[in-house]
Every structure is written in structure tokens, then in C-alpha cells.
Amino acid sequence: MPEVHDRPLGVIVCAADPAALDRLVPPGHGARVLRVAPDEVLAVVAPDFADDVRRELADRVAALDHDALVLDVSDGWAAIALVGDDAERALSYLSALEAPAADGFAQGDVARVAAKILREPDGLVLLVPAYWRDHVRTRAIEDAGAVEARA
């Protein structure tokens, strides 16, 4: 049974020309850059580094697209971690998507809402708009057999 955790994450959105994003050098601080659309990337990072990554992204993309938008949108996302060896099996009860490889991500329907799936060393992270946090947690527990994390 995987455990369900809320995982604090910083999320920075960068909306820019596709050509600019093609040439964008990823930021540091362990940020994972998800190309969620041709003209949009999300940088996912530990919360402490969110501001650094936002600045870094803004500086880098400005040279490629002068009016690109870079915003810290961490408040808009909920990161729900399925921790444990059974995380992938639990995911199969929530989504037709396959779990991504370690360096990739998947996006699509999870528990019938739009989500990104990231692989972490201890399991999987479901990144969903914050207003769906409770829904996805409930489905993970009721449908996928996950359990609340021990305090």
C-alpha cells in the first residue's frame, strides 16, 4: 500500500515563444523542467529555491523572448506523492497513463482531472491544480488503496 503525502513543491510557469523555449537553458537548483505545451514550461523545484529559479528563468528567457511571462504559481498546484513500491499499481487505479521514466513526466487525466505525473526516488508525484487536491487524495485512498501518511 503506498502512502499519500502532500509534498511541498515550488512551481514556476514560463510562457514564451515555442522557439524561445526550444533554446531555453534549464535552470539549476535541481529544478525539473516540464514542457507542458509548445509555448509553456513548468519548472518544479524545492520550495526554498522557487524564487531563485523564477529569477533565473526570467533572466534566461528574456534574452530569447523579451515579453515572456515568468510567474511563481506554486499556490496554484497541489503535489500529491504516492510513496512506496506499489505506487505504480496505485496509479493504475487512477489513470490510464503509464508512469513516466525517471527523467520524464506524463500529463493527462488522473482520477478524471488534468494532472502531471512525475517520478521521484520514493514513488510518484501527482501534480494537480490546487482546487482538486482533496478530490485526488480521496480517490487515491478510496480507489487505489493508498493510505494516509503516518504523522
Binding site: 515579453d67 511571462l69 499556490d75 496554484g76 498546484w77 487505479y93 482520477a111
Partner: protein, 854 residues
């Protein structure tokens, strides 16, 4: 000894028993009554294929007794018959059969018109198959998704051989089909199954035990139903190895209790040790049937093995004699059990659901009557891409005289003949008229008979095929069908827990869960009008529109003059589609850096985003759009004391010079950075505070604490509905219809017609040239109106009320409603039942808007 209760009677259970085995051993012969004629029905197929043994188990109807394992303490009830299945008063229907020919209820209850509702109730009570438990807890089967290279459906010899072979090429899932293996009573088959199971597992195949496929879909994809889950499988290849069942014999008396299909009799005898009769006649045209007679003899029964065609079975409570046309001539036998092994009918429903080349068959389903070696070879060949082609040929005698073709729906040969004579001359329309094949077994027994009947009657080739196969193959429960589906995927704002803690009644409002009221709607309204209140409006759609072409986009898409909005100002915004119809509304605020902040209705946010992105692409503009709906919370602070309240929590300038109406400014409230937008939806001084969602609770708490001197209260949707109505503001969808253009809604002022272009402009110009046929108007009533009530003039309905409320602020009952023009003019006096409605200008409250501009 463990036991179950059957109709209240204690029935002992032996190890490995099914419900049917235990009941039969205890002397039960009649398991159900037939749908229309209420004929006795006993165990027949014994493999879960027919519907003769449907019983209610622990309150859940429709369980097949022959494949349901018996458990200690189980409560089993027979579902049909009144007052009981054994003594059924409605069995009189069997004698009245000639007065109730096929399709009679299509004809005889048509006149007078009141008769059908009465007849329908009577018919339904007389024909039901179990009662749904109204108080049963909601049960939703979890759904699991699996993507696999090869899906094998069927856990017999062919299926296991296919799985074992395919597993060498990639991932394999095998659904064992839940039903007992076709040759479960054959020791050689059991050995082969054990060997192949081990081989398949060793090769890495995942075997899903007790899982049955209920449908195959485009993809190919399949739905597998297991004891505790529904598995949706996407596969590159599907191998259907569902085997064959014995052909259904159609002859007079074929549905009597005591008539068995061979494998059902074999299972009852060999697996459960139940003797099916003392004098058994086996009519066998197959080798397996001949072996079966040996097994039956071993139980001590007197067995007569006959080859030939069954002409007739007789009996009352159960079969007592059978007449067979043998090679030696017509012969009659006394018996208490008749076992039929006439030939093989492939279980090919799944295979016929799709024409996709990736779905193939193996074993008996394509070559009925295969030997074990042939079945194994067929499975391995299918796994290697060399599948056998299915055969449509029947190896068993088709029905000729009378007898029940469809035992589920009580359709006899006589019924088919009569329907044919009435002009229903193809297998598909015979099915629809007679309902043959439409019962719980979904044509497993009778669909070939129906097609063969059409063929024998000389139907054209296109009219004599098998009827269309559709899911579900096996009857799932409603809880299985809704597996993985949630009727309400609700969005929650960051303040959800605060609302619940405050005792709010939470309502579904579109995709959101929102507070309807905190208990006293009247007080919530008064607080807004007289003091200060807060409302969670985080649900509003919120968008940041930036980029060098941001203004061009907004100007070309929306009908307002974007260039006239100075930084720091905001405007009401209508969104029109290409037809000029209103699809959404909101607010557009110009930011200082050339970008814009746009809000839409709560329910329209997703569509607004998709729509704007579409126009960015179509117009090829350099615009960046960020949907901030999830990122930003929003709280509306409204009331005459709103500014005073905020002043206690901010050092920023709140004057009209700093935040004009309608306009906005970035301020800090209780330490929370906010975009404060002066708005007027409720008609009072109001500030929408858009802020980071993670700070919502702190801001909400601070506002409520600081508002105590004014006895602040939050308000919910119920109060908002009245407040906005007093101002004459329209609720999209509630007050509007899909083909409303601005003029019909009195919103022409929100359209800058002088603009060269915007989406919907040409359509509006064309509609402007036509007279309005209806419009939304304000109404005052002399009594309490009802929303949705028709509005009439001289008794003729000319409109309806879309919103209404009794309003203190407006001085009585007011509302909005649709009114059609009568003789080219709009009426100003209407009736809504006993209430008189007078068309009245809006707003009803503070028409000059002095309060919201305070």
C-alpha cells in the same frame, strides 16, 4: 455443517458447492419462473451462460446460482413467482399463452390512452427478475487501467497456450473468464490446464483469476470484470479463447426442469457429487456426450445414451419422458433427467463485437469441437499471428417445430413464426419485435437459432445474419458500470474548510463546491446592504494576458473598446461567439505594463481559456496567456463599511482616486499582497481582493476579525442571488438562453459597435436589422412569484420568470423574465398564475449606482 438459507429454509453446504449445487442437493428443481408464461425453469447450462438460475444473494438480485460459490450464512431467495417460485399463481399465463401472442402489448393497450400506464405497471410487477435493494449502500467498483501487448480472454487450453506463447514476445494478461473451464470435468483437460498455467506463469504472463471480459471496444480495448475490480485493458493484440457451450436444443418441452446441457450435468456430477436423476437419458451427437454418460452411470443412475433428434419432452413439475427420432426410428423414454450434447455453439459474442484485425480467436470459439491438442495448437498459432478463422457453420440441428428459442424472454418457435408472418422478416427486426436474444444471457443460447430461422425462412443474405453483438456480454452490476466514474469532480477553494467550520451549507455550483448560505440568508443580505460582508469568489476564472499583441487580441475578440481602458481601470466584459451570442462575461483590468487581468464566470473559465488560446493561434498573435484560476484566491469585501474595514488592515490608499470604480490597484491587506478590484455586482461599495491561494485563510480570518466592530458576516450564493437581482444583473445560463445576443439581454451598452471588428460583430449587425422577438425584462410582482413560472397575456403564454425574490431593498417581489413580443409590441402587464407581473426598469435598487461609487 455450514449452511445457507434458501427462501428461509436451511440448506447444507458441501465443500466446493455452488449455490445451485447445494440447492439441487436439497431437492430444489424450480429455480426461476419464466418471464411471461411463468413456466418452471431449472438448472440448464450449469456454466453461467443462461439465466435459468438467477437468484437474489444477500439482497443482491441477478446472481447466477450455478457459478456463485456457496458460503456459510448466505441468504438466497428465488426471485420470481407469486407468491413463490414453487407455487406461482401467475403460472396461469402459460395456459393463456395463445391470448398473449408475441408483441401483444404493442397492440392491445394502445386505446384508451390511460390504459397503458396501468397495464405497464401490472406487466412490470408480473415479469420482474428480482428487486433492486433501495437501501443498499452505494458500491463503486475500483477501476484499474492496464496497457499490455497481448490480452488473452479465456483460461482454457487454447487461452493458456496462447498466453504461454505470447509471453515470450512481450507483456501478457490473461483473463480466465470466471466461468468454469469448458472441460473442467475431463482429467486430461485438467492436466493440460495445469501444465499450461505453469508454462504461462513461468513465461511472465499475468493471470487474472475470476475475471471475465464484458466487452471489447475500439483500440482494441477490453473491460474485464473481477471480484473486486474492473480492469480496462488496452492491448496491441487480443486473443479471444472463450470456448464453446453446448448447443441449445429447441423442441417442445425443452425448458422443463430436468433438461440439462451436458457440461452442466457433468459439473454437477463430477465436481459437486450431485446425482441429477435416477433415470437419465443422454442425447449425444458429440464424443464428449458419450463420455458423459459413463460419468453419470458412475453415480448410480440408470443412463440411456441415444443419438438422434429430440422431438419432444414431457412433464409437469419436471421432465418425465422424452421422444427422440433415432436412426432406428421414433423412440420414447421415461426419465427424470434429459441431458443434451447436441453440438457446439462458440461463445463468440466478444469476437463479433469488433472487426479489428488485432482481435482474433483461438480454440473452440473458432473451431468448435477441437480436441485438446487442436485447442493448444490453435492458441499457440494465434499468439504467433496465425489465428484460425472463425466458422459460422452450425454442427447441430436447428429448431424446426416448437419449443422455447429464447428461454430468457420466453420466445418460442411459434412466436418467431407468427412474427415472421406479420412481416418481421429479418433476424434484426425479429429480435426487436420478439425480444429474443435481449434477455440476461444476451443471446448466448438463441442468437444462432434466430439467424438460422431467418435463413430457413428464405431471408435475403443481409437479413439473416447474427444480430449485432454489443457489450456487456455478462450482466454487470450498476456499481461495476460506474467503476472509476465520479459524477461530481468538485473543485474546492482554499477556504472550503473555513466555510464548513462556519456551518455553511455547501452547494454544487457548476464544477465548484461553494457555500449556499451560512444559515440566515436574510441576515446575510442585510449585512451587505447595511454594514460589511465577505464572500469567497475564488471560483472566478482569472487570466493574465501579456505579450506585445495582448491588446490586439482582446480588441479583436471582445466587443469592448480595450484601448479606452487606462491602466488602473477596469471594464465589464462580454464574450460573444461568432454568431453574436453571449457565451460569458467578466471583467477586464488594464495593468500598467501593457498586460491585462481578465476574469470570467466561475463555470466559464475552462472554456474561456480554450477560446482565447484558439484565437491566439487563429490570429497568429504574440500573446502569452496564463490561467491563474487555481493560483489566485479571491474575496469580495462588500458593503457601505468595506473601505473602513480595509483601512484597518492596510496602509495603502483606498480612496476613489487610488482605486476608481471600476478600477483596481495592487495593495497589501493584512500582510497579503492583493490586486483589489472595485466592482459592483452586489450594488454596494465592493473590493475583490485577488491574492495567492495559499494566503486565503489568513486573509479571510483577518477580514472577519477586523470586521467585528461592524458585526461582519460572510454571505453565500443564496444571498448573492438576491443582491444581484436587486441590481438587475443577469446570471448567465439561469437568465439566458444559448442564442441570446446582447440586445435581448439589455446589454447592448456593453458592445462598442463603432469598433471595426470583434468576434460576432457581423452577426450582431444582421440581428440589429431585425426586430427583437423576445427580451429579458425586469418584473415587479403583486404576490410571491415562482421561478420558472410561465408569464401570460390574456391566457396566452408569452414568457417565463427566470429569477425572482422578495426583496426588502427593492420594496417587494421582483424578478427577471423572458417576454415575447405580442403583435409587434412587448407587453408591460402579464400574469404568472394568480400573480400580476409589471414590467419594470432595472436596477430595482439604487438605480443611479451611488452606493457602489461611494
Amino acid at each position: 455443517m455450514p449452511s445457507l438459507r434458501l427462501d428461509g429454509r436451511r440448506v447444507e453446504i458441501h465443500d466446493g458447492d455452488t449455490v445451485a449445487a447445494a440447492a439441487f442437493r436439497a431437492g430444489v428443481r424450480t429455480f426461476t419462473r419464466s418471464l411471461k408464461a411463468h413456466r418452471r425453469r431449472g438448472l440448464y447450462c450449469g456454466t453461467g451462460d443462461c439465466a435459468n438460475c438467477l437468484v437474489t444473494v444477500d439482497g443482491l438480485p441477478g446472481e447466477r446460482a450455478c457459478v456463485t460459490p456457496a458460503r456459510d450464512g448466505m441468504r438466497v431467495e428465488r426471485e420470481t413467482g407469486w407468491p413463490s417460485a414453487e407455487r406461482d399463481a401467475l403460472a396461469i399465463n402459460d395456459r393463456l399463452h395463445r391470448f398473449m401472442p408475441v408483441g401483444f402489448y404493442y397492440k392491445v393497450f394502445a386505446r384508451p390512452r390511460w390504459l397503458w400506464p396501468v397495464a405497464e405497471r401490472v406487466i412490470r410487477r408480473a415479469t420482474g427478475t428480482g428487486t433492486l435493494p433501495p437501501d443498499a449502500p452505494t458500491r463503486r467498483t475500483p477501476t484499474r487501467f492496464v496497457r499490455v501487448r497481448t490480452l488473452v480472454i479465456g483460461g482454457g487450453v487454447a487461452g493458456l497456450a496462447a498466453a504461454a506463447t505470447a509471453a515470450g514476445e512481450g507483456s501478457v494478461v490473461l483473463a480466465d473468464e470466471a466461468a468454469p473451464g469448458a472441460r473442467a470435468t475431463d482429467p486430461a483437460a485438467r492436466d493440460a490446464i495445469a501444465r499450461l498455467t505453469a508454462e504461462a506463469r513461468a513465461a511472465g504472463a499475468e493471470i487474472l483469476e475470476q475475471h471475465a471480459a464484458i466487452g471489447i471496444y475500439e483500440g482494441p480495448a477490453a473491460a474485464l470484470l473481477g471480484p473486486d475490480e474492473l480492469v480496462e485493458v488496452e492491448a496491441e493484440h487480443v486473443i479471444v479463447a472463450t470456448g464453446a457451450l453446448e448447443a441449445h436444443g429447441v423442441f417442445p418441452g425443452n425448458d422443463l426442469p430436468g433438461v440439462w446441457l451436458g457440461r452442466g450435468a457433468a459439473r454437477m456430477t463430477a465436481i459437486h457429487g450431485v446425482t441429477i436423476g435416477e433415470r437419465v437419458v443422454v442425447v449425444a451427437n458429440t464424443e464428449e456426450g458419450a463420455h458423459l454418460s459413463e460419468a453419470l452411470r458412475a453415480t448410480g443412475a440408470t443412463v440411456t445414451l441415444v443419438t438422434g433428434r429430440v422431438l419432444e419432452a414431457r412433464g409437469t413439475r419436471q421432465v418425465s419422458s422424452v421422444t427422440v427420432l433415432t436412426p432406428e426410428g421414433r423412440r420414447a423414454f421415461a426419465c427424470d433427467a434429459l441431458v443434451l450434447s447436441l453440438g457446439w455453439a462458440p461463445r463468440d459474442t466478444l469476437l463479433r463485437m469488433t472487426a479489428e484485425p488485432e482481435v482474433v480467436g483461438a480454440g473452440d470459439v473458432v473451431r468448435p469441437g477441437s480436441t485438446l491438442a487442436e485447442a493448444e495448437a490453435s492458441g499457440r498459432a494465434a499468439a504467433r499471428g496465425q489465428a484460425d478463422q472463425p466458422t459460422e457453420a452450425t454442427s447441430w440441428p436447428i429448431a424446426e417445430h416448437d419449443g422455447y428459442v429464447c428461454v430468457c424472454e420466453d420466445v418460442s418457435m411459434h412466436d418467431l413464426e407468427r412474427a415472421w408472418d406479420e412481416g418481421w422478416t429479418s433476424s434484426e427486426i425479429l429480435k426487436r419485435y420478439t425480444t429474443a436474444t435481449m434477455g440476461p444471457c444476451q443471446g448466448a443460447l438463441c442468437s444462432r437459432h434466430l439467424a438460422e430461422h431467418a435463413r430457413a425462412k428464405g431471408a435475403a443474405p443481409a437479413a439473416r445474419g447474427r444480430t449485432t453483438a454489443r457489450p456487456p456480454v455478462r450482466a454487470p452490476r450498476l456499481g461495476d458500470l460506474i467503476g472509476g466514474v465520479h459524477e461530481q469532480v468538485e473543485r474546492r477553494t482554499a477556504l472550503h474548510d473555513r466555510h464548513v467550520a462556519a456551518g455553511a451549507r455547501m452547494d454544487h455550483s457548476g464544477v465548484w463546491l461553494r457555500p449556499g448560505t451560512y444559515g440566515d440568508v436574510g441576515e446575510e443580505i442585510r449585512v451587505v446592504r447595511e454594514r460589511v460582508s465577505v464572500m469567497d469568489v475564488s471560483t472566478l476564472g482569472k487570466f493574465l494576458v501579456a505579450g506585445v499583441d495582448a491588446r490586439t487580441l482582446l480588441d479583436q475578440v471582445f466587443p469592448l473598446d480595450v484601448g479606452a481602458i487606462a491602466p488602473g481601470r477596469a471594464r465589464y466584459l462580454l464574450a460573444l461567439d461568432e454568431a453574436g451570442y453571449v457565451m460569458d462575461d467578466g471583467l477586464l483590468a488594464a495593468l500598467g505594463d501593457g498586460s491585462y487581468f481578465l476574469t470570467s464566470t466561475s463555470g466559464g473559465a475552462d472554456r474561456m481559456e480554450a477560446w482565447l488560446r484558439n484565437w491566439i493561434d487563429r490570429l497568429d498573435l504574440h500573446v502569452h496567456l496564463v490561467n491563474q484560476t487555481a493560483q489566485l484566491g479571491a474575496i469580495n469585501v462588500a458593503g457601505p463599511n468595506a473601505r473602513d474595514l480595509l483601512a484597518t488592515l492596510t496602509d495603502d490608499d483606498l480612496s476613489r482616486a487610488a482605486i476608481p470604480y471600476p478600477g483596481h490597484a495592487d495593495i497589501v491587506v493584512a500582510g497579503v499582497p492583493c490586486r483589489a478590484i472595485a466592482v459592483g455586482f452586489v450594488g454596494e461599495l465592493s473590493y475583490e481582493l485577488h491574492h495567492p491561494r495559499g494566503r486565503s485563510e489568513g486573509l479571510w480570518d483577518a477580514l472577519l476579525a477586523a470586521g467585528e466592530p461592524w458585526d461582519i458576516r460572510p454571505h453565500g450564493l443564496d444571498a448573492l442571488d438576491v443582491l444581484r437581482l436587486e441590481k438587475g444583473h443577469v446570471y448567465l445560463a439561469q437568465d439566458t438562453m444559448p442564442d441570446d445576443h446582447p440586445a435581448k439581454l439589455g446589454l447592448r451598452w456593453a458592445v462598442a459597435s463603432q469598433k471595426e471588428t470583434f468576434v460576432g460583430k457581423r452577426a450582431l449587425e444582421r440581428m440589429d436589422a431585425l426586430p427583437l422577438e423576445r427580451r429579458l425584462v425586469g418584473l415587479r410582482f403583486d404576490g410571491a412569484p415562482q421561478r420558472g413560472h410561465p408569464l401570460a397575456v390574456d391566457g396566452a403564454i408569452v414568457g417565463r420568470i427566470t429569477s425572482c425574490a422578495v426583496s426588502e431593498a427593492a420594496g417587494g417581489p421582483v424578478g427577471l423574465g423572458w417576454v415575447r413580443a405580442v403583435d409587434g409590441a412587448f407587453p408591460d402587464q402579464l400574469t404568472a398564475g394568480a400573480v400580476t407581473a409589471t414590467v419594470s426598469p432595472t436596477p430595482f435598487y439604487d438605480p443611479e449606482g451611488m452606493r457602489l461609487r461611494a
